[in-house]
């Protein structure tokens, strides 16, 4: 049972000889540093190490998925076929999405959770440290398996990240590998989620009640439940694809009495909560950063939590808005339309809360805050186009056009990805003990923000004018906006090299400025929601083992 036993007073669970050490628990092992050499990273069960692994992996995948996006934008620079074959182009759109969603955004948030959750709730580590190690390496295995399909006969999956049959069943040798990769990624994130739920449920420091938890912990708790509820559904859907292809079942084959539309229902029952899995932790990070740089407590803590729960619950009953055009009964269209529009209410509450937090605050605009503000503004634009598409009669025009592409890139790039960057800028000095170069950070911010709009805003126009998504060639009238979009894409892609530089530079010493425990003025007071931000009470960088003695929880509210 040692796999289930991260002990509060046993700091020594970073190597496999855990059980051997159990008998001398009494002398605290805080002085134990990490193991030496590369094996430290392979066998580590330390939440900070695993958090680092996740974040580094996500950063690597950000550039892999980004390189694929560059191929896509280069091909779309002009109408006609210039650089790649259509089949490979479709592989690129498919793999770009899968890598960014499962290889970059989800691991980045899991990495943040690993690093920050134990420190935020005053726990010595995650509840299930060995499972934590396993879920990271399963992720690596899953993504490598997925990437290997690029080199297989017939190419990588090219049916879009939604893997719709019957098209996806035409995938050649890569098909079963893609399916098994989804299984591995699913198992990995379910294990990660179980760990997060167990940590938050059982490992909180005395006095850290649920209703005092930092918002980031709340959003991750809810996200983890979403993951456990929907990742297995996706695994089931791809298993059905697998048996349809190889074992003669007919779940999605009309010839055998099945229906390809069934796949869409199952996929989107997973797919819609999945997009909230990407955005709810983003809300948590935004709610953490904005109060600190506004030097005010978060406005509406309770309503933030309530809105997150409402969004999570609603996400289960809106899936068919992805498939308004398949031919549903009118009552179905209406139900899914109204349920979807209803999501705008809790989401709007959050946006108002962030604005109210900034209102009348003593704001300062360091890079994390810049990214957080851009997140609020640009995510809201993506939210508005979401409401447009929620309207079933209008969706018939937008369906499968670049308008959709513009919408979800607004919520996922200047939305989720920007907030991941905000989080990295915000916590990097804490993690490394070094200050990043603020000037280059701001340059990175402005280049990213301007170029991301040049990149995605024109896609609304070509989409409304009827340009379909997932095509390597397009009608001549879409040329200008596509060229502008591609130029924005190249600038955005190149700007991210600055981010890479900043991260490496900071790890290696940054500006040389010695950062304090608090790093940011007000972080200790406002960085934890309604209690003191616990991570800011620790040294920067924090020692390998923290909170082996539970901290004292101090409320920041006036008594």
């Amino acid at each position: 049972m040692s796999v289930f036993s991260a002990k509060r007073y046993d700091g020594d669970d970073h190597n496999t000889s855990h059980n051997l050490h159990e008998h001398h628990d009494e002398h605290h092992d805080d002085h134990h540093g990490p193991a030496k050499g590369i094996l430290r990273w392979v066998f580590t069960t330390n939440h900070k190490d695993i958090g680092t692994l996740y974040l580094v992996f996500a950063l690597a995948m950000f550039f892999v998925g980004g390189a694929m996006a560059m191929i896509i934008r280069a091909e779309l620079f002009q109408p006609g076929l210039q650089l790649v074959q259509p089949e490979f182009f479709n592989s690129m759109t498919t793999m770009h999405a899968l890598v960014m969603v499962f290889g970059m955004m989800m691991p980045a948030f899991v990495g943040l959770a690993n690093w920050m959750l134990p420190m935020m709730i005053g726990a010595p580590d995650m509840a299930l440290p060995r499972m934590n190690n396993m879920s990271f390496w399963l992720l690596v295995a899953g993504v490598l398996l997925l990437a290997s399909t690029l080199f297989m006969e017939g190419g990588a999956p090219a049916a879009g990240w939604t893997l719709y049959p019957p098209l996806v069943l035409q995938t050649k040798a890569a098909f079963p590998f893609a399916v098994f990769s989804v299984h591995l990624l699913g198992i990995s994130s379910i294990m990660g989620s179980i760990n997060i739920i167990a940590t938050i449920t059982n490992m909180r420091a005395p006095g850290m009640t649920l209703w005092k938890m930092p918002i980031f912990a709340w959003t991750w708790l809810i996200t983890a439940f979403l993951l456990i509820a929907v990742m297995p559904v996706f695994a089931g859907a791809v298993t059905m694809l697998l048996t349809d292809k190889f074992f003669g079942t007919s779940f999605f084959s009309a010839a055998g009495g099945g229906d390809p539309v069934l796949y869409q229902h199952i996929f989107w029952f997973f797919g819609h909560p999945e997009v909230y899995i990407l955005i709810l932790p983003s809300f948590g990070v935004a709610s953490t950063i904005i109060p600190v740089f506004s030097r005010k407590p978060l406005f509406g803590y309770g309503s933030m939590v309530g809105a997150t729960i409402a969004i999570a619950l609603l996400s289960f009953v809106v899936w068919s808005h992805h498939m308004f055009t398949v031919g549903m009964p009118i009552i179905g269209e209406l139900f899914f339309m109204w349920a979807t529009i209803a999501i705008a209410v809790p989401t709007g509450m959050k946006v108002f809360n962030w604005v109210a937090t900034m209102w009348d605050g003593a704001m300062s605009f360091e890079t994390p805050m810049l990214f957080a503000i851009a997140f609020v503004v640009l995510f809201t634009i993506g939210g508005f186009t979401g409401v447009m598409m929620a309207l079933a009669p209008l969706d018939f025009q937008y369906h499968d056009t670049y308008f959709i592409v513009a919408h979800f890139h607004y919520v996922l790039v200047p939305g989720a990805t920007f907030i991941i960057m905000a989080a990295v800028y915000y916590w990097l000095p804490k993690w490394t003990g070094h200050m990043y170069n603020e000037k280059i950070g701001r340059l990175h911010f402005w280049l990213s923000t301007v170029s991301v709009n040049i990149l995605f805003f024109p896609q609304h126009f070509v989409g409304l004018a009827g340009m379909p998504r997932r095509i390597p060639d397009y009608a001549i009238q879409f040329s200008d906006w596509n060229m502008i979009s591609s130029i924005g894409g190249f600038i955005f892609g190149a700007s991210q090299l600055l981010f890479l530089y900043i991260v490496i530079d900071t790890i290696r010493g940054g500006t040389g400025e010695k950062v304090t425990n608090e790093v940011w003025e007000g972080a200790r007071q406002y960085g934890g929601g309604i209690v003191e931000g616990l991570e800011w009470t620790l040294p920067s960088p924090p020692p390998y083992h923290t909170f082996t003695e539970p901290p004292v929880i101090k409320s920041i509210l006036p008594h």
Partner: protein, 187 residues
Amino acid sequence: MTENLAKKNTRLVQILVLVAIAMFGFGYALVPLYNWVCVDLLGLKDRADIQQSIADKRALAKETVYTVDKSRQVVVEFATVLNGNIPMIFSAQTQQMKVHPGEYYTVNFIAQNTSDRAIVAQAKPSLSPGAVTDFFEKTQCFCFVEQTFKPKETKIMPIRFVVKPDLAADYKTITLLYTFFDITDKK
């Protein structure tokens, strides 16, 4: 304390793993769940094409007699598609016909196996616009059963259908599309 914590963690993990396993089955249970919740409990209509195929089978036994509406005509178009690389030629004898609601008509479809192997094929109908599904009834159709084609065999296959008189006057054209799927390998 630590003993207790390990026990709590174990218990929680067990519950959450069970939830995950149950959710794996959710996709498989979606059709039965739909029939239970949406059809039986909420009384929403069944999926139109399922209902159609049930109606088709019932109709086989007996042709309902309707009052023929001589006052108007509806255009019924016939279209054919071959799925994938199935080696066949498939067409309707007439591209379209004007029908009176309430009256039964027969149309022939012709299919030929152009290959030197036997083919087992299944035709699937699709009606457009979708809302007319409830008002279009087939009493005879080659799509009700699997069709076996000997090498090079040509078959003339009739369908017999009626457009029900209570079809709303807004609908002036109905398209009936058949797709032939090769299911030889599934046999």
